[in-house]
């Protein structure tokens, strides 16, 4: 169903649960999205919203137990990933789908030289000899902007700065020229200046290699300039899904609006304190029956506490999980007109 | 109001830990065995005396001794070389063994907690120096020194202040008892090092928190801050570590008793009973097996309980 229309990854109704002492934690509960070849998808949400778990599920990297993919379908380039034996999944991991993790400080093995960690990927997947793998590793390091790659390749991770380590991670991930790159908060642990450099690097490499990218972040500001479309996640659910431009212009979900308001905007509101969504994300182990965002929502009504909201289709590519999705959408449109008028 | 919140949070922390502990079957097993063992050891000898007429040393009142009699209805664990009832001896020995374990751990607790808390709170150069000393003592093969200590100061040579303590708390002029008091200190003084490290680490992470700063601002003395504010907050790890110190101390006591340096006649511990039993292992195996088994079961339970407590009180770091 997917190969023909250029879809590289399609996730439908994915459910990943964790069995804990507190009961079943539904970290991901019925997520669906699609990614076309060459596209970049942003997945946005606060910590604990299930965005990382979704992507670990795609790689089948959920620890079982306590985790368990309880339902749904993940189709990668026509392959049913959840139905594959684990040996076949390993042939995809690192070769066709690669991942960059949040914390470059802990994601590289502190006991092994960088060279070893880079070489083992291509030796495994591309059948490189030691020499080939070494040369390739040097080439990859140069590509991610490590200038003195020949000297640095023999170092251990702790001899690199955070930003450099993330470059190494990216080099490692792109070693086998994967079709899909999943970047899980690749800049969160880094300094602001380094953040921009790393994002620029990912953008640049994506353009050069034609890789599809999933960019996971809690910061809408990060995905704005990079992605084609965005999935907003909250409490294991998709709250809103839309093309990037539309989501930023006319959000149809109060949660997205809150997120957008909390992005620092240097052009406006100078000197004003940054907006923050009140309250904390809910405990996914004990979700109330209604909308999980109800307690923090600015336009909450009685029904929100009582009934789970519907997934409303605003237009062809725009969906929102809210009892009042259309109302919020109209509201956003009006605000948009007003601010445009100001300008 | 704020204080209320603290208290609620505090109690629920302990209640959660207790709940987690009860979920751990092995820890509960250990707890139950230890409780039964404690009751048996405390009340067992008296019950045996009342029901069978054996004295605390397991000698029948009529003086009718059957030497090395195998386990039977009258003597469930048989009798020893001198004809004393093994069950009575084992229960009696348990009193000493557990006492040595608990009191020595207590000694190590007092020394280790004070040392670690003071080093951690004062910090800087003093902390550095105090911890270097601990490192150095760690490197010393302390067991050699304990052996020398117990053998030259054992028996008649017990130092005066130890005899004084033993006379005051135990009974006057009892040489065997003062040897046991020697053990308390010898074992306590060699097992405080790790405790000091554990407490220091805790104090280091606590000392900059608000409640300490607040106490300091309101003029609480350094001593007060350390012992009234910081030490109570290190209780979790201290309990865990103390629970694991008891079996290791008991093992060392058994080892010393085996060498003839620990508990001595007329007193007996599981270690000294087992070491007596070894002589006759091929002919009268029960003389080794029962004290050995009882001791192993107790240590087993203590270790399981300690493991369980660590998992319950410190769910994040399930380290060794």
């Amino acid at each position: 169903m997917s190969e023909n229309n250029g879809t590289i990854l399609s996730v439908s109704d994915l459910k990943t649960y964790f069995m804990t002492e507190d009961g079943v934690v539904k970290a991901v509960d019925g997520i669906s999205f699609e990614l076309k070849k060459g596209e970049t998808l942003g997945i946005v949400g606060e910590s604990g919203s299930g965005k990382s778990v979704t992507n670990l599920s795609v790689m089948r990297l959920i620890q079982e137990p306590p985790g368990k993919i309880a339902g749904g379908q993940i189709v990668f380039d026509g392959i049913d990933v959840l139905g594959l034996p684990i040996d076949e999944v390993r042939k995809i991991r690192g070769k066709r789908i690669a991942m960059i993790f949040q914390d470059p400080m802990t994601s590289l093995n502190p006991f092994l030289k960088i060279s070893k960690q880079l070489m083992e990927v291509t030796q495994l997947h591309l059948g490189h000899s030691k020499k080939q793998a070494y040369d390739h590793a040097v080439k990859m390091l140069k590509m991610v902007g490590i200038s003195d790659a020949e000297e640095r390749i023999g170092s251990y991770p702790h001899e690199f700065s955070g930003g450099m380590r993330q470059r190494v991670m990216i080099a490692m991930a792109l070693s086998c020229d994967p079709e899909l790159l999943i970047a899980d908060e690749p800049t969160t642990a880094l300094d602001v200046t380094i953040q921009a450099q790393i994002l620029e690097l990912i953008k640049d490499l994506k353009a050069r290699m034609g890789t599809s990218v999933i960019l996971i972040t809690h910061d809408l500001g990060v995905v704005a300039g990079m992605t084609d479309k965005i999935v907003v996640m909250y409490a294991g659910k998709v709250f809103e899904q839309a093309p990037t431009r539309e989501l930023f212009a006319t959000p149809a979900n109060p949660y997205t609006k809150g997120l957008l308001k909390s992005v620092p905007d240097p052009a406006h509101e100078q000197g004003n304190p940054l907006y923050q969504i009140p309250g904390l994300p809910p405990d996914v182990a004990h979700l109330p029956p209604g909308c999980p965002f109800a307690d923090r929502c600015y336009r909450v009504e009685e029904i929100c506490h009582r009934e789970f909201p519907p997934f409303v289709q605003i237009n062809e590519n725009h969906h929102s999980l809210c009892h009042f999705a259309n109302e919020v959408y109209e509201e956003s449109k009006k605000e948009k007109l007003a601010t445009d008028g100001h300008r | 109001m704020v204080e209320n919140v603290e208290i609620i949070k505090g109690t629920s922390l302990w209640r959660d830990a207790w709940k987690r502990l009860l979920k751990n079957k092995l820890a509960v097993f250990g707890l139950v065995v230890l409780a039964i063992m404690a009751l048996l050891v405390i009340f067992g000898p008296e019950i045996i005396y009342l029901t069978t007429g054996f004295t605390a040393d397991g000698i029948p009142e009529d003086g009718n001794l059957i030497k090395s009699f195998p386990p039977s209805l009258i003597h469930p664990m048989g009798t020893d070389e001198a004809g004393r009832d093994m069950l009575a001896r084992v229960l009696q020995g348990g009193r000493i063994s557990l006492m040595v374990g608990i009191i020595s751990t207590f000694v190590s607790l007092i020394v280790g907690v004070s040392y670690g808390a003071i080093a951690g709170y004062l910090g800087g150069r003093i902390d550095n120096l105090m911890m270097r000393v601990v490192d150095m003592i760690y490197a010393i093969p302390y067991i050699l020194i304990v052996i020398v200590l117990l053998s030259v100061f054992g028996g008649q040579n017990t130092p005066g202040w130890i005899s004084f303590l033993s006379d005051t708390f135990g009974g006057a002029g009892n040489q065997g008892l003062s040897q046991i008091f020697m053990l308390f200190f010898a074992l306590g003084l060699v097992s405080w090092l790790t405790m000091a490290r554990v407490v220091r680490g805790q104090v280091l992470s606590l000392k900059n928190q608000e409640f300490v700063v607040a106490a300091k601002a309101t003029g609480v003395s350094t001593f007060g801050i350390i012992f009234r504010h910081l030490v109570p907050n290190t209780l979790g790890p201290v309990i865990v570590y103390a629970t694991l110190t008891v079996p290791s101390v008991m093992l060392t006591e058994a080892f010393l008793s085996y060498l003839g340096l620990g508990v001595q006649a007329p007193f007996a511990s599981w270690g000294s009973l087992a070491s007596d039993g070894i002589r006759n292992i091929a002919i009268f195996p029960w003389q080794l097996i029962f004290p050995g088994l009882t001791m192993a079961l107790t240590l087993f339970s203590l270790n399981f309980l300690g493991d369980g407590l660590r998992d319950a009180l410190d769910p994040q770091t399930r380290k060794f």
Partner: protein, 329 residues
């Protein structure tokens, strides 16, 4: 690194002196001497002996004499000892680490006694630790990989048993089962390979147990870490993830345990040597303490302290090979 080793080696000297001083002090403060336990000697002979060992001098002179013997001092002109390290420097004859003669074993030097009895203890000690490493590491790794299965529970229960049964109980039971039952291993006699096996098993049990628990905990912790997730995300199979990526971090706790284990092994050999009637250093040490054979006790304490501290240093150095993040300043 070299300066680190040198500095640590230098620290060993005052530490060993501290231990020796402590031991000497304990022996001296305690009432009674070697001669009390022996038959009453005629005063003239006693005075003679006391003169020979310098016991007629004030205590501080005796102390420095002892220190000089244990460390280094200029050889007296009338001394004809060949013990310890001897060398000439700037026209003086020096001797080091000469622990003197035993009081009990007349005419035998402490150095000679140590040399004679050390091999027994060293053999079972080293073999026991190697066995403990082999058994403990494999049991720990298996338990960690098959967490919460029969293998995990089984090996951890066994390990707990190993921690809870005193070795002087375990040894005789082993003997009872094997030696007397099967006539396979000769009990209580040193000689040949087979007689070593039971003492080695007895001694290793508790360390195998410790190491198994440490390995399991260490491996479980490492297997949860981010870099293992990275390794899996690369498509490596579990065996490679385990052996190439997890093992080194996982066994670091085992390496740190080696220091305390060495000190423990020392105590262990004392017991095992007694259980199996092995004429090792541990046995001799206990005898010397009970006999109040001061030179022998001091010599063994000094020798073992230095040995253990050197081993501890070796352990610390080996960290550096295991963990590249460690720097020796």
């Amino acid at each position: 690194m070299l300066s680190f080793i040198l500095r640590r080696l230098l620290i060993i000297i005052p530490m060993a002196l501290l231990v020796v001083t402590l031991t000497w002090g304990l022996i001296r403060i305690a009432p009674g001497t070697f001669y009390d336990s022996d038959k009453k000697l005629p005063p003239a002979i006693k005075a003679n002996i006391e003169k020979k060992y310098g016991l007629d001098k004030p205590w501080y002179q005796q102390y420095f004499l002892m220190l000089g013997n244990v460390t280094c001092r200029i050889k007296g002109t009338d001394e004809i000892t060949e013990n310890g390290l001897q060398f000439s420097l700037a026209g003086y004859d020096f001797k080091c680490l000469d622990f003197g003669d035993s009081l009990k074993y007349q005419g035998q030097s402490v150095n000679e006694i140590i040399r004679r009895h050390l091999p027994y203890s060293a053999t079972i000690g080293i073999l026991a630790y190697l066995l403990a490493l082999m058994v403990g590491l494999s049991a720990g790794i298996i338990a960690a990989l098959k967490q919460n299965t029969f293998w995990d529970y089984g090996s951890m229960a066994l390990a707990m048993l190993g921690l809870s049964v005193p070795n002087f109980v375990f040894g005789p039971i082993l003997v009872l089962f094997f030696a007397i039952g099967i006539y396979l291993f000769p009990p209580a006699r040193w000689g040949g390979f087979s007689a070593v096996i039971l003492p080695v098993i007895t001694l290793s049990a508790i360390y195998a147990a410790y190491i198994a628990r440490l390995t399991r905990a260490g491996m479980l912790e490492v297997m949860r870490s981010d870099y293992i997730r990275t390794a899996r995300a690369k498509g490596l199979d579990e065996k490679t993830v385990l052996l190439r990526h997890a093992l080194r971090g996982g066994i670091i706790p085992v390496v740190s345990f080696t220091g305390p284990a060495l000190a423990g092994l020392l105590a262990g050999t004392v017991v095992v040597e007694r259980v199996f009637a092995i004429p090792g250093l541990g046995n001799i040490f206990i005898q010397s303490v009970l006999n109040r054979d001061e030179p022998l006790t001091l010599g063994i304490v000094a020798f073992l302290s230095i040995l253990i501290m050197i081993f501890n240093l070796a352990v610390d150095v080996s960290y550096g090979f295991l963990d590249p993040r460690i720097r020796y300043e």
